[in-house]
Symmetry: C2
Subunit: 278 residues, 2 copies
């Protein structure tokens, strides 16, 4: 594996990669979720590039950019079987005077976008830059950050970018907690409380499978369950159209059940898709 | 030459073009200015693609999108020696639900951007789409739309797009009027009056060559000259840094003298660069 720090070196190496090229953009501090993205990329492409870059422009001014966990040495050890680890500096990606941004409108106003203004502008801009630098055939995103995946797909489609976006299922701990680099922030008691996100999603699935289609009733029961957990504070609980992310009154199409809950000081998100025969 | 109307057909044909590929994005209704871009692209690349698309998103609500001159048959006859003419429909480029935009900040707020809010957002977005569809090695823009060229260069640099932007000198009528598709709007008297743009720029060059560096004095003399023309109404007269487009007090670096003047009902722009030994 080659560790590449500059855009010009990445451009020089790119023609040597065997096509098709899989790409996994990350902010590092790897857990099984990241590694499952890398494994799927390896399975589907002879060459794989992984980027590790904690992107400052997707964090709000009061968010955890400075404290976001980093462990580059460990990350690189976990990546031994990919072709290139692209680990640019902040100055390399955002030189002085940087002033160009990509906005995907409408679907970025809901859910995470409503709670984190400017977040998706940072996400789409850095992904477009990385796509242009690495020129992958396919890029891999996790289902856990479902809105990110939907927004990136919309950008790729609207701007006619030349790659395919692949969404990989969420990897969970044995008790159901979705893997996230931010889980490191949780103390033992909070870690226990954090299960409430998956419990609420499981309740939604159970109600839907039992024939409940009224989203008010499902949201209400999810909310009640979370409110019983004293360490949890709800940001949002949503049952939305899985494609447009618009809230649904009735589940009459593939739906996304998603939520953001702060446990102690740590904001966590999770989601499941409600669709198919059941 | 192949005339291509869809993105998918363009993508299918692209691999057959010999590299490097030159690209000339246009809104059609060709004059010598367009043809000089095509000639330069032909000279520098074995393959050339020209797009003809009157881009609705770069026109303001009160601007001339509907009336903008079009003559596709004549345009295609003038293009016989290029490889592909890409002539997509509005629906092909902006399908229902289109919602992604590229903003280059700061330099788009001045000059044309100040007079035409949203104009450059439309320009950068359509150019990014066309670059992604056509994947050129080089794209050619006219010096007459100098701010457009500066903004596109900034987008390409900030977003790490894989192409080179080439700026080609303005082509002028024998009396100095810059060629523009909008010159067709001028009646005989207005056509005569329109020379005042080039006269004002020539005056700026003369003053600067004579040693005048105070931009207030140069702008004042340009303004006085234009005001003597009864059919002319000034939108702006600018002496700015040629790279940042920020107004200069003193010409102590390469400068852009530019102006927008409405003649009758037709808004015209023109510019010259003041730099070098003289």
């Amino acid at each position: 594996m080659q560790v590449v720090e500059t855009i010009s070196e990445m451009r020089n190496l790119r023609p040597q990669l065997t096509e098709p090229v899989g790409f996994v953009p990350t902010m590092g501090y790897f857990h099984e979720g990241h590694l499952s993205l890398v494994r799927q990329a390896k399975k589907e492409n002879p060459s794989v590039v992984v980027s590790i870059f904690v992107n400052p422009t997707q964090f709000g001014p009061s968010e955890d950019f400075r404290d976001y966990p980093r462990d580059l040495r460990r990350d690189l050890e976990l990546l031994q079987n990919v072709d290139i680890a692209f680990v640019p500096s902040e100055e390399e990606m955002y030189p002085s005077g940087f002033n160009s941004w990509i906005d995907v409108e409408r679907i970025t106003q809901r859910l995470e976008g409503a709670s984190r203004p400017g977040h998706f502008r940072g996400v789409t801009t850095i992904c477009a830059k990385l796509f242009n630098i690495i020129q992958p055939t396919r890029a891999y995103f996790g289902q856990k950050d479902v809105q990110q995946a939907v927004v990136i797909k919309k950008m790729v489609s609207d701007l006619n970018m030349n790659l395919e976006i692949i969404v990989v299922p969420t990897v969970r701990e044995s008790d159901g907690l979705a893997m996230s680099s931010r889980n490191i922030y949780l103390d033992a008691e909070e870690r226990q409380a954090a299960i409430v996100l998956f419990k609420a999603l499981s309740l939604a699935r159970h109600l839907w499978q039992s024939g409940e289609k009224d989203t008010d009733k499902i949201r209400h029961q999810m909310t009640s369950l979370i409110q019983k957990e004293p360490l949890a504070r709800i940001d949002y609980v949503s049952i939305a159209d899985a494609n447009t992310l618009e809230e649904l009154n009735v589940i009459d199409r593939p739906a996304l059940a998603s939520l953001a809950v702060t446990i102690g000081k740590t904001r966590l998100i999770d989601n499941i898709i409600l669709k198919g025969g059941k």
